[in-house]
């Protein structure tokens, strides 16, 4: 896989088991997506980033080295507050975090790299299995797809609980320091005041959220 950033959108997830239809999503190297939803003290974050951004390759892990890289990436992705640094005043803590690698390559990679609920290692509360179910549903679709060379995406989902969400005035994206190949994150935020989109780039890794309040 060439390290081509911003290369045109080609292939990604969502092959289908049931119908004869074929659908593909967008996939741009260097650009990931971060969705943030805020409701009172609950903050939900969903990160989707191309494999090329996170580990630099999108083919199935063939060597030990690749496996180690993926494992390390998933472990890093499971630490949301060190990737997306929020002000201390907000008093945020992680209640749930999960990260995994999704691929079109069938179930080959899944068992090895699906680090579901990784955050449990940190001793955080773990009271919601809904996400786990959802993840498996997704996988069912992929397994039915027979392997062509496809793109892989890292998916992470975080549930934060913030004592004072009003203090969430900015987010510093240490994400770009952790993953050198990542260039940009398209951030979408839904809160009581409506929806807003931002672009956060490696060059300007600070997201100002004061316009939300």
């Amino acid at each position: 896989m060439k390290k081509m950033f911003f290369c045109a959108a080609v292939v990604a997830a969502t092959p289908l088991a049931s119908e004869t239809e074929r659908q593909l999503g967008a996939h741009q190297h260097g650009i990931g997506a971060l969705n943030i939803a805020i409701e009172e003290t609950a903050v939900l974050m969903e990160l989707r980033a191309p494999g090329a951004d996170i580990v630099g390759f999108e083919h199935p892990a063939k060597s030990e080295e690749h496996r180690a890289a993926i494992d390390a990436a998933v472990a890093t992705l499971a630490q949301p507050l060190s990737l997306f640094v929020v002000p201390d005043a907000a008093g945020c803590s992680v209640t749930r975090a999960s990260a995994m690698l999704e691929t079109e390559e069938g179930d080959l990679d899944h068992d090895g790299h699906d680090h579901e609920d990784h955050a449990d290692h940190d001793g955080h509360a773990h009271d919601d299995h809904a996400h786990e179910d959802h993840a498996h549903e997704d996988h069912a679709g992929h397994e039915a797809h027979d392997g062509k060379q496809g793109h892989t995406e890292f998916h992470a989902e975080y549930m934060l609980s913030c004592a004072d969400p009003q203090a969430l005035t900015e987010v510093a994206f240490a994400y770009f320091d952790s993953f050198a190949n990542a260039r940009m994150l398209e951030v979408q935020i839904v809160s009581a005041s409506g929806a807003q989109a931002f672009e956060v780039s490696k060059e300007a890794p600070l997201l100002d959220l004061r316009s939300l309040y």
């Binding site: 049931s18 119908e19 659908q23 939803a37 409701e39 969903e46 839904v190 009581a192 929806a195 807003q196």
Partner: protein, 416 residues
Amino acid sequence: MMLRLAVASLMARALTVGMAVLAIALSVALFLGVEKVRTGAKASFADTISGTDLIVGARSGSVQLLLYSVFRIGNATNNVTWESYLDIAARPEVEWIVPVSLGDSHRQFRVMGTNSAFFEHYKYRQGRSLELAQGAQLGDLFDAVIGADVAATLNYGIGDPIIVSHGIASFVEHEDQPFRVSGILAKTGTPVDRTVIVSLEAIEAIHVDWQGGAQVPGQTTPAETLRQMDLTPTAVTAALVGVQSPLQTFALQRAINSYPKEPLLAILPGLALQELWGIVGIAETALLAVSCMVVVTALIGMMAIIFSSLNERRREMAIFRAMGARPRTIVGMLVLEAMLMAAVGALLGLALLYAALFVAQPVVDSAFGLWLPIEAPTLRDVYVVLAVVGAGAIVSLVPATRAYRMSLADGMMVRT
């Protein structure tokens, strides 16, 4: 003293100065007007839909879906089957869902099929609900609720009949099934004002005797029979969705976007609007740049007038010098004159803008559905006026420097 002199000097050359001031006034009015239209358009669009978390339609582009389903602008999107609509409606994340069916028209106005939930959940301008100015909501199958502009333009009252045309080019009319105006909505400043709202079932009903886009000749199902029929729609154009909790917005959006049975698209209206502004932003910048250049041109015109006045004022300058005015005073006076011209021009421009807004507001509203608010000048407007005065001062430094040099020489040499 100097101010009095400057004013008197300007008054003495009232015609040429007046021209320069007028040019500055027009350019400032244009510059501020562009900004007013820009912010007015944005506010108008942003106020049109509020409280709707997702808009669901056939897979297209987010901007296209938003423009067509909410603003009735641009290309029609594909329809969504009723089965898919019911599937989405049944999802646990969905708090409410309102179907929207477009395609028919009445005169120049769009006809929208929906259900009573529309009146409950459609919100505009930070959560305001639709209100009926007269009459009642949809009751009977052939009831229609019309927007304020529809009522005003076509002079309709409660109980008037409405014949819906098939499609938007009124070649064929659903003459066999006339509607009756049951309610007139209060003015909202949104596209709803220009919409005829009927029930989804009525849209089905008027197409019962139609096949392949034309009426089957001689076949007219009586209204009474239609009322008994099962008029479950087969398709809708789009659906407005409210989610139970903002936390579920993205999950629902993803579920709809990857719905396996039909290619659907769910968009967040606010984000789609932001995307639209991103696209038109380039044109906006170009427009602002052009109007900015017009201001610069006017200021350069003023500079030219000051330059040409220098010649005819040589004697005047010499007298000032002879009476003990220092060269710096001469410069100061010229700059002061320029600043006065720029200030009067800018303020006149502001006044012109408000006069124009006052005249244009109703016209623009009815022609484009764009409500340009007449508000007190913003801080930005004040900055623009100050910037024009400042720029006038800077521009006048060029002729002033020349006068500074000339007044030295002129003061010492006696010429006729």
